[in-house]
Symmetry: C2
Subunit: 213 residues, 2 copies
Amino acid sequence: MKAPKIPEATITRLSVYSRFLERMDRQGVVTISSGEIAEGVGVSPAQVRKDLAYFGEFGTRGVGYNVKDLMRYTLKILGLTRPWTVVVVGAGNLGTALSTYKGFRDRGFYIVGVFDNDLTKIGKRIQDLEVYPLEKLPEIVARHGVKIGILAVPGEAAQEVADLLVQNGVEALLTFGAVVLNVPEHVVVRNVDLSVKLEILTFNLSFRASHGL
Amino acid sequence: MKAPKIPEATITRLSVYSRFLERMDRQGVVTISSGEIAEGVGVSPAQVRKDLAYFGEFGTRGVGYNVKDLMRYTLKILGLTRPWTVVVVGAGNLGTALSTYKGFRDRGFYIVGVFDNDLTKIGKRIQDLEVYPLEKLPEIVARHGVKIGILAVPGEAAQEVADLLVQNGVEALLTFGAVVLNVPEHVVVRNVDLSVKLEILTFNLSFRASHGL
C-alpha cells in the first residue's frame, strides 16, 4: 500500500486534537462535533473535517464524533498506543529542562538516559536520572530499544552525536537551534527552532501596527 | 485596509525561507528560483510560490527572485527589520537555556531581563544577565520598551505572570507546555509544546512500520 502524503501541519493538529479529546473524555463528554473541536483548539470546523478525512470516515452526520473512539484513533495514528523510550544527549540547561519536561511523560515518552561528555556533568542527578558518559549510550539504547534521541548539544557537536545515535539504532532525532544533520534516509529528523515561534509573535505585532489595528 | 488572513504555517515557512535566503546571500548568490528555495528548505516549489503570493508579486519569470530583495522582504513581513527586546520569566533550567539561546540574538531578539521569585535564583548570573526579582519587571519592561515575554514558569504560575506582563505593556507571550492563558484580545500568545514535535517523529516511525516501509 502506498503511504498517502499527509501534510505535517495535519499531524501537528492531530496531536492538538488528541489532547483536547483526552480532556473532553476526562470531563465525561461522549460525543462532539467538528465545530466544538474547532472551537476548542482554535481552528476552523472545515479544517478539522479535512484533517480527519485523511485517515478515513469518522463521525455521524448530525450526531458528531464519539469522543473516546476519535481520541483513540488520533493516538493510534500518532503512534501513541505504545510507550516510547527516549534518550537525551547533552546535560546542559536545555538537556536538563528537557529531561524533566512533564509534558513528555503525559504523552507516553519516557526518558531513559541523559548523556554528556563533560566530566563536570557526568554523575549529576536530574530528578531520577543520572547523567551518563556518552560511552554508555550504546548499552542504554540497546537495553531499552530506544528509537528516539533528543540532541541538546552545541551545533558543532550535533553531527557526531547524531552519527552515534544512528549507529546504535536510533531512527528519529529531535534537534534544537540552527542544526542541519546528514543522516541515512530511514532516519526522521525534526528541528525545534524557538526563534521561529518568536517570529510568529513579531509578525503579528508588526502586521497589526502597519495596518493600524 | 483589511488585513488578509494569512495561514500561520505560511508565516512559519517565511521564517524558514528568510534564514535560507540569508545563508544564500552570505554565499554570494544573487538570484534564486522557487525550485531552489523549495529544495533548500524541503517544501514544494508550488508551496514557495503560494506562500510568497500572499504578500504580492515577486520574481521574474525565467529569472527567479533577487536573493537580497526577497530576504529583506521576508524579514520585513516578519517584523525583523528592527530589533526586539524580550524578557524571560523563570530562571530554572528552561529559563536559563532560553536566556542563553544563541538563535535569538541572530534574529534580532535581545533578552534584557530574566526574572524569578525564588530567592535562591535571584542574583544568579546567566552569562551577562542577572536574575532579577519579579518586582523589578515593570521597570525593565518600561525602560527597554519590551513587547515580548517568554514564560518559563510552572503551569500554575503562568496566569499570574501573564497578568503582570500584560499590565506592564507586554503584548506578545510565548509559553511552554500545556498552558492556557486568559489574556486581553490585543495580546498574542503562542505555545511551544515539545511533545507535539516528538509526536511527528512517532507518527513517522509508526506509519512507516505499519506500511512495511
